[in-house]
């Protein structure tokens, strides 16, 4: 069994992310998993809101 490298969190970008890197016995990358744990659901909760609200709601998707 090789090594597992976890980068948590990945930084200096907008959003939350985690990278899991699996190395084989030789130390080469065998597999990488990139996980995005962040979900807020703007797609859903914007539904039914007055249209003039949307520019001011969706600007909160990313403030960076």
């Amino acid at each position: 069994m090789g090594r597992r490298i976890t980068i948590d969190p990945i930084t200096r970008l907008e959003g939350h992310g985690k990278i899991e890197i699996f190395l084989d016995d030789a130390g080469a990358v065998e597999n990488v998993y990139f996980q995005i744990p962040e979900l807020r659901g703007f797609e859903k909760f914007c539904e039914g809101r007055p249209v003039e609200e949307l520019p001011r709601i969706v600007s909160r998707i990313c403030g960076v």
Binding site: Q35, L39, G41, S59
Partner: protein, 318 residues
Amino acid sequence: MAKLNLALYWASSCGGCDVAVLDVNEKILDIAAVADIVLWPVAVDGKYADIEAMEPGTIDVCLFNGAVRNSENEHIAMLLREKSKVMVAFGSCAVSGGIPALANFKERDEVLKRVFMETPSTVNPEGVLPLTRCEVPEGTLSLPEFYKYVHCLDQVVEVDYYVPGCPPTPQRIWDVVQAIVSGNLPPRGATVGATEKSLCDECKRIKQNKKVKRFYRVHEIIPDPERCLLEQGLLCMGPVTRGGCGAQCISANMPCRGCYGPLPGVIDQGAKYISSIGSIMDVQSPEEVESLLETIADPAGTFYRFGMSTALLRGANR
């Protein structure tokens, strides 16, 4: 004097609060001069593992922004709480749920379904939804659990101070930093970086006794820039919202959106607003009331725009 250890974290948020901290501009250097930043995902490197390795109390102050939407948010909140002497709920999301908490009007499963199966850009014929645990050949991967509710920070950990705003204004942030550095902090539990009076106190507009015959949506009229917006029928949240923001929206001829949260002692900003504007509606008969109410497009979404986590009625997942 030893430098302070400062952590800034974002949970379920947009990063606007972090950017607002940067908006103190060159003063950021002054912050750096007095504090070591041990965690600030948006700007500096630093891993959860480093935090976990710390002794409790290592962090002097943690400015925590963002709501608690999932188990990771909660976990980090608890972690930072353990390691921090002072925990600050920073920005509307941490204080009262903020914009992400509008999701509390919807059911959790509806959100997942919409995002992962129904949006036009999604192709997901098998209907796969994220799992908290996933077995892969290399072992187990995990994702945080997406909670039913969006919580605010003090619903999961003890909070020492609250700094409201979406985002807090740079001037107020600087005031807070100065207070922290000088140790000149108010009693625990206080809201800092905002005033004890409502926005109306800061608002320069001419106010008269209030009577409203109908409400307008912001695109329906161009309001008189001198007069109180509420008196002109715009649903300005100013009366039920703390001041301290410098009345920025008002200066742009837009009604207050309520991001600085309710006044001290008010337990439900939206309910209070209903009570207040219900009093100034200039109609008498039930029929007139009904047709006046028709002119309010989305009362709950408007009145609880930033406060759904703290709303007495909890929303759709009830």
